[in-house]
Amino acid sequence: MMLLEGLLRSRNFGGDTEEIPPLEIYPASGWRFLDVRELWNYRELVYFLAWREIKVRYKQTAIGVAWAVLQPLAMMVIFTVFLGKLAKIPSEGVPYPLFAYAALLPWQLFSRTITESTNSLVADQRLITRVYFPRIIVPISTTIAAVVDFVIAAGLLLVLMLIYGVVPGAAAVWLPAFVLLMIVTALGVGFWLSALNVEYRDVAYTIPFLNQFWFFLTPVVYPSSLVPERWQVLYGLNPMVGVVEGFRWALLGVGKGPSPMLAVSILIAVALVISGIIWFQRREQNFVDALGSGGR
């Protein structure tokens, strides 16, 4: 009702509309790559969806955004006590808490992204079945929201480095590159899992298991040097190996830095994100039919 009234009130109709090209709709057309220009046009929606996720996540919590720090901190304490002190797992000469936390930072982002991306499209079912936008925005904004938590949690790392008197070396200039590698990896896996979960809800059930499995395949609580030399390149097939090793190398100066293992990780991360985008775009056309429209 009021809708109609409002329509009438819109006086400046056509005021700020530049001549836009006609919009054409064709049947689903098989494989296609990302329409970057369209994505750019929807950048504000990406921002608002990420913003919604952050806002909603800490609403009605007592300590709010402190959770972003508390979670990795608690894990660090547990690992330090049980693995660092009791099991005496080597930490390449740096204090174990710092050793663990530098790895927990990217790991938490990755683990959170894959969990939340997987459910993101299904959770936004109402949105997807009622409004058009490039669907890939949904896992992207989920990842962006996780990056915000990552940045907050990174503040504690600086504090820890101050406490333990660890000063990063020249390698620290490479840190942004590893942050990028981390985001690319998280996006790639997120695209795959979110699109798969629309059609196969089995995916959501495998996530807790996948998380655990992947955690032990990543050198978070142990140094990658524990893995025999001849297996290192194979080990790098897990792109999170490259990310975590890179973080430790850039920030704490431990580990090998650039290596064949890292190169493998980078290749895999890039392959994951490109194949993820293509797969996502391919399946996107079936999302609405697969999700149904909630009784309408």
């Binding site: 009438l8 919604r52 609403k59």
Partner: protein, 451 residues
């Protein structure tokens, strides 16, 4: 590669500036299974296992294995929700889209708003498109009014700058100034709906696609708004409106397209198309239930006959307001065996398509644990409450939680004036659509002097 050059040329040539919506040979195919449940990995694995054999078989039959499954000759588990729809809408024109439930109206709107893709055909839209399939899409209860205005605005396609500019206007329009920083979960229902409408109302597209929003609000207010909406189209905005409310459509639109089971059966001036629609509603229900094919569901239970029984006149298709009525739905099980966990519903719709009430075994807590392979469900309605008019009934049944049979417009029930209140007078001047049993009581107040 795409077969549209002809359409392209035609548009370019004649009406580049006059046509707002061009729809050509649009079809949409659904797999029934996909509509109801998602696939489990197991199903696809077995699908994949059989796929090579099917491909070989179809090659042998001279079909191209890459074509969408069964397209053109839909099998049992496929149906064409739209079949070769073509029409054009001029700039500034308001087109009403009418048809029975399941005729494909919403599917068409979803294709035009790019939510789902067509299986075949081509659409061309000139101008910024705004689609309102539901107001308040993306509202989050935890967020404040302010936050939701921005979020919802961005979702329906407004720029942040645009929202900034219209923000105060939206808040004032929704009359929520005092609560703009309160989470909407604390809003009253009225406030929530007003805010949702306010945001939608400030979207200013050149082509507006609307689905059923007119179904909300009271009649007087609707009338007022409808009157004004006519003006909108005079401003040059194109409107495509889907509604079951014939009055609404008639007031806003000058032209209507009638869809039936996915095909377009009329396109033209309002009055004749609406007449055709009403005839269709009636004739459809005359077809024996057993022969109806426009039904959905697994078929584990099928309705085969339906009739009403009046205590004084026996089997009938006309009942009086206020008399005790028994409705009988006969069924047959798909595979001649007993059915477990059966739920049956009969919703009633008036001539504008508004749902009046529903008789449902689940509502009365009477879902059947087990029923035989054939039989009849009877529902007894004491003092039939609907006022005089024609009402359309759906028959709906679930077996074990899955849709078994769903026939829209399964029957038409004619209701004539009756003595609902048992006063000896017929309730012939309906104040509202339903009669409700009620009692009045007078209680005197003693005046203060006496006390």
């Amino acid at each position: 590669m795409r077969s549209v050059p002809e359409a392209d040329k035609r548009i370019e040539r004649n009406t580049m500036s006059e046509i707002a919506i061009h729809v050509e040979n649009l079809s949409k195919l659904y797999r029934i299974g996909e509509l109801q449940k998602y696939k489990a990995l197991r199903d696809t694995l077995s699908d994949a296992l059989y796929a090579p054999f099917r491909a070989v078989a179809s090659l042998r039959n001279g079909h191209n294995g890459h074509q969408p499954t069964c397209y053109g000759h839909p099998s049992n588990n496929h149906f064409l929700s739209l079949k070769y729809i073509s029409f054009e809408v001029k700039k500034g024109e308001a087109l009403g889209l009418i048809g029975l439930n399941g005729a494909g109206k919403s599917t068409l709107l979803k294709i035009l708003s790019r939510i789902t893709k067509p299986a075949e055909g081509y659409v061309r839209l000139h101008g910024r498109v705004g689609s309102l399939l539901e107001v308040g899409t993306g509202f989050h209860p935890e967020l404040t009014g302010r936050e939701n205005i921005y979020l919802n605005g961005a979702i329906i396609g407004m720029r942040k700058k645009e929202i900034d500019r219209k923000f105060d206007e939206i808040v004032a329009f929704a009359e929520v100034e005092k609560f703009v920083d309160t989470p909407v979960k604390l809003y009253s229902n009225g406030m929530y709906v007003r805010l949702a409408f306010a945001v939608a109302a400030h979207l200013e597209p050149e082509i507006l696609l609307v689905d059923e929003v007119l179904a909300v609000g009271d009649a007087a207010f609707q009338k007022k708004c409808l009157g004004k909406m006519e003006d909108v189209t005079h401003e040059g905005r194109t409107v495509l409106l889907v509604s079951h409310a014939m009055a609404a459509i008639q007031n806003i639109c000058s032209r209507a397209v009638l869809l039936n089971a996915g095909t377009m059966c009329a396109d033209g001036p309002m009055a004749p198309v609406i007449r055709q629609y009403l005839e269709m509603v009636q004739s459809d229900a005359v077809l024996p239930l057993d022969n109806r094919t426009d039904r959905e569901g697994s078929g584990s239970l099928t309705f085969i006959n339906f009739y009403a029984v009046s205590p004084s006149r026996g089997v009938t298709d006309t009942v009086c307001t206020g008399e005790d009525v028994t409705l009988v739905a006969e069924y047959r099980a798909g595979n001649e065996s007993a059915l477990k966990n059966v739920s049956v519903a009969i919703p009633f719709f008036n001539h504008t398509g508004q749902q009046m009430f529903t008789c449902w075994t689940r509502m009365t807590g009477q879902d059947y644990a087990q029923v035989g392979p054939s039989g009849e469900f009877r529902v007894h309605i004491k003092r039939f409450p609907l006022m005089a008019g024609r009402y359309s009934l759906n028959l709906f049944s679930e077996v074990n939680g899955y849709l078994a049979d769903w026939v829209r417009n399964a029957a038409i029930l004619q209701v004539v004036d009756g003595d609902f209140f048992g006063t000896g007078h017929v309730v012939s001047d309906p104040h509202g659509g339903v009669a409700v049993r009620h009692l009045w009581e007078y209680v005197a107040r003693h005046s203060s002097l006496e006390r």
